[in-house]
Symmetry: C2
DNA sequence: ATATATATGCTCACATAGAGCATAATGAGA
DNA sequence: TCTCATTATGCTCTATGTGAGCATATATAT
């Protein structure tokens, strides 16, 4: 039976002004994340003489049916790792923003992805798991407020604000610094990973900025502020961290990183590792159990000293019962 | 002063296997949204004989410095409209997913954007504001549950589930239908706009699916389920709606759509129009005021009959005070 | 036995959310 | 002028959720 179309004439994509499209390469990069030993790790491809890289490749319009399948191909080839959960993050395309050398090679767009996997799975040559806080040392507030913030970041951001051309811009920069780094009464928002990285980039405080602009920030060169990465990979990793930290709160994505059975403390440590903040133990378990995210297995774990903990498993059914199951994070701020 | 780089050797983007990249066009499309007379509207470009389109164009690597500036150029040229708030949504690239005819023309990636603007601003030729519920009639729950859901969508989704090849797939399809359309005790989640559209697409119930697959859905051809659009534009609009409905709750984006002064009821009507659900009036104002999102101007409005309402304005400072100001929506379900 | 861990149960104060009643201030007719 | 209908706004009451911390239980290591 024939189907009638309201529009018989199918619209065509117009070619851009300058003819049939100057060459554009599409980069596909993945922040592949895992948590082991209470550290969130990203899968890093390291080759001699270059900075660290995320697994990446270019989109091939002939062999890749979708962007995501292209990405999976590249990552699996480079890392010998089967990806489970994969989510598109953002497409970056700014000229001169650590993609290629100015005036060299074709224009590159970069599509960033987040992938989650359980620890200990196989790895390819040149790949290794690296603690993501090595790239973002200001993001880990579990033990204490990272000293680098007061010691280096805040004064440099002040210089950056002061160096602004006019009063309005100066104010805006101050505001951004306050909001991003929780200065002056503002509470730390662990989700703003990308905003913080972008601010540091604009202030010229991360190495990539100097690579792109060839000029030193106000106040002169800085000691390295976290390890840098090739291209825009640190930007993509920042996007991934922010997205994951936010998403954990309303979707049960953490369980992609957990083994089939785990104790509630192990779960909590994983969440803490990712979010970079400490949580209140009793309230955490109350929350997780009340939301129906987990169910006890009856079995006990005695990996840690002390009273053995019950083991739990993820209740896949939640997804079918409640529209947005996740875990709200409740930071632990003791009165003293 | 020279800056030392850890990596002197800059990594290069590898060309894809098949040589220096087969032609890929980058489409840039924007869902430009506005609210007038309690209806959310998208800016539509309509040309004779084709279905409706969003303003769009292709990315030009030579003249466009960023993806967003390319988008702004195209939209402003086509609609004579200055865009304010613009946000990238998603990059689609599935082969055969209403981008080009199979086997024809270059491969197209499509980057979708959301833009917000106040009503009544100038328009170009062939463009007009259209109620977005014309494309998604099942999304407007303000007056009542849209009858089309029970009358058409639910039975057809049942057929779609039944026609599955095996029991597991059947169950998954049923679950998706239940979650998406709030069947059987599950409450309607107004944010799942894209999920619903994708389900209808997979079930073959929206026109685009037939365009792409050239086959009728289980149960035979369907009467039109909302107006269709060219390419993947309805998919982009669905993404925009979902994103906006979600974002309203934690960022003060609604104010991009409001005039400088407004009454609280006008604000509420705008939020309701976008979210497609009715809110509890007293609680809405309590929330908005408690969050410090608005401040009274002292002036009164008597546009509506009844007691005159105070006019309010958006307090831009909130953004600087609280990390994530927004509006939680409190649906109104009276007991009787 | 004692110290030290961790697990788990429970409480209490306080904030927020959902519902609805009551009152205030208008303009439009009767 | 009085009575409605209509919108605005104030306030209450209850249920639920959240932040913090005390208390107890059950391990292992001396």
């Amino acid at each position: 039976m024939a189907v009638t179309h309201k529009s018989q004439k199918i619209a065509r994509y117009p070619a851009p002004a300058g003819g049939e499209g100057h060459a554009v390469l599409i980069g596909l990069s993945a922040a592949v994340v895992s948590v082991a030993e209470e550290r969130p790790r990203a899968l890093i491809v390291h080759r001699a003489d270059t900075a660290d890289a995320l697994p990446f490749g270019t989109f091939d319009p002939l062999s890749h049916r979708t962007l995501e399948s292209g990405l999976r191909n590249w990552v699996e080839e480079q890392t010998r790792l089967q990806l489970g959960y994969v989510e598109q993050l953002y497409t970056f395309g700014d000229r001169g923003r650590h993609l290629t050398e100015p005036g060299e090679g074709p224009r590159v767009l970069s599509v960033g992805y987040l992938a989650l996997t359980r620890p200990q799975e196989g790895r390819g040559p040149d790949t290794q798991w690296r603690d993501w806080y090595g790239y973002f040392p200001w993001e880990d507030w579990r033990e204490q407020k990272p000293p680098i913030i007061e010691a280096l970041i805040v004064p440099r951001l002040n210089l950056f604000a002061t160096s602004a051309a006019n009063a309005e811009l100066r104010e805006r920069r101050r505001d951004r610094a306050r909001l991003c780094f929780g200065i002056g009464g503002i509470t730390w928002d662990e989700e703003k990973v990308l905003e913080r990285y972008e601010l540091l980039y604009e202030a010229g405080l991360v190495e990539e900025a100097q690579r792109d602009r060839q000029s030193a920030p106000p106040g002169g060169p800085v000691p390295p502020l976290g390890a840098d990465m090739v291209f825009d990979h640190r930007r993509i990793l920042a996007t991934a961290m922010g997205r994951l930290r936010a998403k954990m709160k309303y979707r049960p994505v953490v369980f992609e990183l957990m083994p089939p059975e785990f104790t509630l403390l192990e779960l909590q440590r994983t969440v803490e590792a990712l979010s970079g903040i400490r949580l209140h133990k009793q309230n955490f378990r109350r929350l997780v159990e009340a939301q129906g995210l987990v169910e006890g297995t009856g079995r006990l774990s005695r990996k840690a000293g002390g009273r053995p903990a019950e083991q739990f498993r993820f209740r896949r059914e939640v997804v079918r019962e409640r529209p947005a199951p996740g875990m709200r994070l409740t930071p632990n701020r003791p009165s003293r």
